[in-house]
Symmetry: C2
Subunit: 239 residues, 2 copies
Amino acid sequence: MAPAPIEDREVRLLEAAAELFARHGYDKTTIDDVARRAGVSKGSVYLAFEGKQQLFEAMLLTQMRAFSEAWLAAVRAHPRGGTLGAMYQAMLRALDDNPFMSVVFRRDPALLGRYLQQPDNFFRDYAAGQPTRHEVIAMMQEAGAVRRDVDPKVVAHIINMIAYGMVSLDTVVDRAQMPETDAMLEGIATFMDRAFTPEDGGDSEAGKAVIERIFAGGIAAFDGLIDARRARRPMEDER
Amino acid sequence: MAPAPIEDREVRLLEAAAELFARHGYDKTTIDDVARRAGVSKGSVYLAFEGKQQLFEAMLLTQMRAFSEAWLAAVRAHPRGGTLGAMYQAMLRALDDNPFMSVVFRRDPALLGRYLQQPDNFFRDYAAGQPTRHEVIAMMQEAGAVRRDVDPKVVAHIINMIAYGMVSLDTVVDRAQMPETDAMLEGIATFMDRAFTPEDGGDSEAGKAVIERIFAGGIAAFDGLIDARRARRPMEDER
DNA sequence: ATATGACCCGAATAGTACTTTTGGTCAAAT
DNA sequence: ATTTGACCAAAAGTACTATTCGGGTCATAT
């Protein structure tokens, strides 16, 4: 289930990469920085990854997978279970805990730097494989966890706006007049439930099942990508 | 009530400035461009405005005032009157109609350019004079147009997120999978009303009164700023 | 009186030659 | 068999100059 056996060195490189790329951005982080922080030599990096871009993308995938699992765990731990409000409260909490994912979500050019220029960058067509958010909403509707009198596309878009606003707004509004994170997450969840959950509370269990299924799919997709990536790792017997 | 008598030349300059600054941004728009578009010579610009920054700010104030009036008109025209949903549907519609105000709202560095660097730029302390958004929400609560069991700061922040998301999201999501603007605005209004308006529908009339009062204050504030600005216009009899 | 545009000058930009950095390689060391 | 780090070429950065641009002025024209 988990992506595959993985060497210790690789793990350490990925961790070092996550920290440094998140803190200093793609451009300012050098391969040598990452290598040193991981306690290996620069040359070794190229034994594990094809290059800087590939290292970055491997780290990205790892982080996204970890983010998904944190999200799922938060959903499972949430008392109100399978409602949209709970689902997105969990997501926003996971997002708030993971600064790097905020960068990803925002496509922050200051940190992603030249990586975004790269013509074959990950964000270009990542969305393609995944079920779109409004498909998720539609599934939740079918399960009876979301009221049916709303257009799933609209719901999905409003949710996107809120999530995007959440990770971006502190660039415009100063922290001082923002509410406490917890109060805000609670508020968002309450409002979403009022707005999108059926008046009778809906079928929370069915909703939870849908969410579990979607996450299973999403995480499997990540694992697939991670394995595919590993398959074409540099190897001595190549060509 | 309206700001004051105003020369034709000035109006044309402000219009030209609005168009050019919105399209090409602060840095790429030259005084000469504006002058030519307004059909006057460059020198004349300095008979009406102290300089580029002042021209820009005068245009900004004019646009913000116009935006406020468009917003207010949309509120007045809205059937559901004084609810938060109607208020923000109206705002978002006005915002969607006015690309320049989107720029302002987003503090778009790409278009505002060097203007944002200026130490005495308008955005620095504009907020100071105005009632903050959560004060507005609190007033709506007192009037009975917004449910009282929610923290106004949280409500204000969620609303901010949505507004910010709306003007920014198209940089991340491609237009194709965004819903129709009208459907989306309608959805947002419905969402807000379900989430924030008292279950019995609340006191819409009182809400409307609050909104009118706030707008009156806001527009008066703009007029004050516009007049103050005009008072220290360059004049030949000056010291 | 009012408006104009040639003109001024500081600042931004483009051009250039040179230095440093850094992604990537590979012969040598372990 | 692994791992390393000196090494290389290319890219990025720097320092400097030349050139253009554009905000702002003002003598002149209307």
